[in-house]
Amino acid sequence: MQRRVFMKNGALALVTMGLSPTLLRRTIFAQPLTGGAASLGNARGKVLICLFQRGAADALNVVVPHGEPAYYRLRPTIAVPRPTLGTQSSAVDLDGFFGLHPSLEPLKTLWTQGILAPVHAVGSPSSTRSHFDAQDYMESGTPDAKGTRDGWLNRYLATKGTCEECSKGGIGNGNGNGHESLFRAVSMTQQTPRILMGPAASVAMNSIEEFAIRANGPGAANIEAMYAAGGSDVVHAAGGEMLDAMKILRTANPLQYQPRNGAEYPRSPFGQRLREIAQLIKADVGVEIAFADVGGWDTHVNQGGATGQLALRLNDFAKAISALVTDLGDRMADVAILTMSEFGRTARQNGSGGTDHGHAGCLFVIGGSVKGGKVHGKWPGLEPEQLNEGRDLALTTDFRSVFGEVVRKHLGASALDKIFPGFSPTEIGLL
């Protein structure tokens, strides 16, 4: 999980490099709106939000197979108890066999509404147990092929025809007409994640507030003048895009954002990132793909059962997603949320009250057009002979079948062979 250490340090640097909120209010956002962005407003389209749980979430304690006797044999001290009405320390039943971890209680409403579809025993066919490699494969979309340089979301962006359309709008000419594409793919991360790497443009930012020139008055005007006057080279083109993007964000009025429908986001970094994703979607700046990630899932030691370490992580996870869905309200008709984690963990608990790196895992697809209220995927069982290499949940669904179905049916992608080369997806019936 060294990768997370990097991110954490980066975040720390951000805090120290950032300015006080009062100073921020004097940033370029505060200037009067000019040109370009005024023409926005009805860019409603389909949106896909991808959320990566880095560190390998323990699928068997996320979507709990409480109807499986072996589950309780394998996990004497960390299993989530069978659903018992009225207690908060047992699984939240879904269908009599599976239940949600009690911390995921906020997601039960979505299940009842029929917009939450868990998929179990899903993952990468690669046998790797390395976080790095498995995350790499899940983001490149090409398990066991290390040579892939771009991410599958980027290949989606590059292969879907709309991109030609948006480039006609004059990306980068600095006149403010390029906004359809500027925020087409947004990552709420410090750096462009692997999944979005590649030729198609995307914007990565740690926060909306930060996407502003930290100069006041004449300083900011100077920057604007330098790029407005500039030539046709790449630097000036990107500078023009930057100014356009800031104008667009200004209309989103990020500092005054009020979540709707009483949505309450956790104050955690993950909660705040989802809040900003909702802001951008509702600002109609043309978001089609949004990405965020959240760490802390590598629970080798004392992970706990109904309460404890993993329960805390899941609590934040569920509250943030629930707030996002509430906040987006009617927009959820056009939105799909797709969660993922690089692999599952060992079916058997280890000697430290935790679990080690395993194989198949679980994920969630949430959205207005999702066939929810059903746990998808074939359940392989947890008896010794049913386990992968005698230790992990076996894989019955390739993650590319899920991702492929989501981009095809939700976003209308047709070139699946380019997005997931060499793979023939299996129809799951998620959407």
Binding site: M17, F132, D136, R214, A215, M226, Y227, V234, M246
Partner: protein
């Protein structure tokens, strides 16, 4: 001027720990043929062969002459670098032997397994901090040297090779091996012979771990050099073999096949890491000792480590390698589209000099193409180059904490943080986009205002400060 006189007068004792190499002569460089006026030539060499100019640098180059300045930069062993050396001495973990880091890592892992003893928890916290600091300091020291060292072209080459032979600190234990990778593998060989560098990288625990060769063993179809009763062998891992040819030597179109990848992987089985020392070890028990054919050359059966050595010989002396390496040098030092005629010419020098990096580099950086109008200010700075050049322009210094390296990470290029083995891209299109421009502009503004944590700025000329956030400053 004083520093330069000093540089000429002092025969430095060695370069970054490479005392074992004889101090080379300062090469003679013929008068530069250039369509650029002299002032632009000076600006050009400082922005390309150095990480930009510090105050007074242009005058110093003018005084000694562009040709003589380049000649000296090509012989860093002869440049006194005490200023940088004393700054680097502040990073106290830099010299830690890998074995010590590996021992700390084992403590941490042990403590994680046994959390019942509270004392172990303290050990863990402390040890984690040490591990974290050691990686942070290598990164910060790299930036510090880029800012402060007078061996500027040497620092450029260290960065070039660390990027060419890129490793990712975030992959498992790779981080433990990175201090030694920088200190003992790359730095002593950055201006030496390519084959020597290639071999040191191939045996470095950092690369062996990062590209999985340490996990590769003969598959069950083949005989090993020494038969040992053991658990079933894990089999071949082709990861390093493939990148060795695609990225490190021949290049993607270098004329090798999947068959060659497998054969090279077989030749390199047994090249592993001794976990206790954190050092290279050859394990005969997992080395595939059957016959192999690599790029048409037969490696006979029954051999050991010589298999891998011969593969490296074949690859290092292959014409495709000369072409691939020189093209990358041209992209870094001349322009995003490496001039083909120059690549041909200098690839010839690479081959004729048996992969002499200094000779090849001299060919590139004294060429008419390098000094052409088309090349002048044609490159966009990477985040590392932007930060180093801004600190130099502002006469600023990184402090003794690892924080300065975080500035570069924040701009999208964490040092030793490239996930994929291809290294950071060196072309403009990869680095400039709307989000990046916000961060770059803010960095320039923050530095001008003296508000960048991890950096000391003293008495900055406002006119210089204003330049740091301009579009022009993004170029070199």
């Amino acid at each position: 001027m004083r520093r330069l006189v000093l540089a000429l007068a002092v025969l430095a004792a060695g370069c970054g720990g490479s005392g074992r190499l004889a101090t080379p002569r300062v090469p003679a460089i013929a008068p530069i043929q250039s369509e650029l006026p002299r002032e632009q030539q000076i600006d050009h060499v400082l922005s390309r062969l150095a990480y930009g100019a510090r105050p007074g640098d242009a005058e110093r180059v003018r005084a000694v002459g562009v040709e003589r300045w380049i000649a000296l930069q090509l012989t860093p062993e002869r440049i006194d670098d005490r200023v940088a050396d004393s700054a680097i001495a502040n990073y106290r973990t830099l010299g830690t032997p890998t074995g010590e880091l590996a021992a700390i890592f084992r403590d941490v892992r042990m403590a994680r397994r046994d959390t019942s003893k509270p004392a172990m928890r303290d050990v863990t916290a402390d040890s984690r901090r040490t591990l974290q600091l050691s990686l942070g300091e290598v990164a910060a020291a790299k930036l510090s040297r880029a800012v402060l060292s007078d061996r500027q072209l040497y620092e450029q080459m260290v960065d070039f090779w660390e990027n060419h032979f890129s490793v990712f600190a975030g992959k498992g234990q790779t981080r433990l091996f990175i201090p030694a990778y920088d200190r003992d593998v790359i730095r002593p060989r950055a201006m030496g012979k390519f084959r020597d560098l290639l071999g040191a990288v191939a045996k470095s625990p950092a690369m062996l771990f990062y590209l999985d060769n340490a996990q590769s063993s003969a598959d069950s179809m083949h005989n090993t050099l020494r038969q040992v009763r053991q658990r079933p062998r894990r089999g071949l891992n082709e990861n390093y073999a493939r990148e060795l040819m695609e990225l490190h030597t021949l290049g993607v179109d270098g004329g090798y096949s999947q068959r060659d990848v497998i054969e090279v992987a077989r030749a390199l089985t047994g090249w592993g890491i001794d976990p206790r020392e954190g050092a290279f070890v050859f394990r005969p028990a997992v080395h595939d000792a059957d016959q192999k054919t690599v790029l048409g050359t037969q490696l006979s059966a029954g051999r050991g480590i010589e298999d891998g050595e011969q593969v490296l010989d074949i690859l290092a002396s292959h014409p495709a390698t000369a072409h691939h390496i020189v093209k990358k040098l041209a992209v870094r030092f001349i322009s995003d589209s490496a001039p083909p005629a120059l690549v041909e010419r200098c690839a010839g020098v690479f081959t004729a000099s048996e992969g002499d990096i200094r000779e090849t580099l001299k060919c590139v950086v004294t060429s008419p193409e390098f000094f052409s109008r088309a090349a002048y200010r044609a490159k966009v700075k990477t985040p590392f180059e932007l930060v180093a050049s801004a600190l130099r322009a502002a006469n600023a210094t990184p402090d003794a904490t690892p924080r300065s390296a975080q500035i570069v990470a924040r701009l999208g290029q964490p040092i030793f943080g490239r996930q994929t083995p291809d290294g950071w891209p060196d072309q403009a299109a990869e680095w400039v986009n709307a989000g990046a421009m916000v961060n770059r502009t803010n960095f320039g503004l923050a530095l001008a205002a003296g508000r960048v944590p991890g950096v000391r700025v003293m008495a900055l000329d406002p006119a210089v400060g204003a330049k740091l956030s301009t579009p022009e400053f993004q170029r070199r």
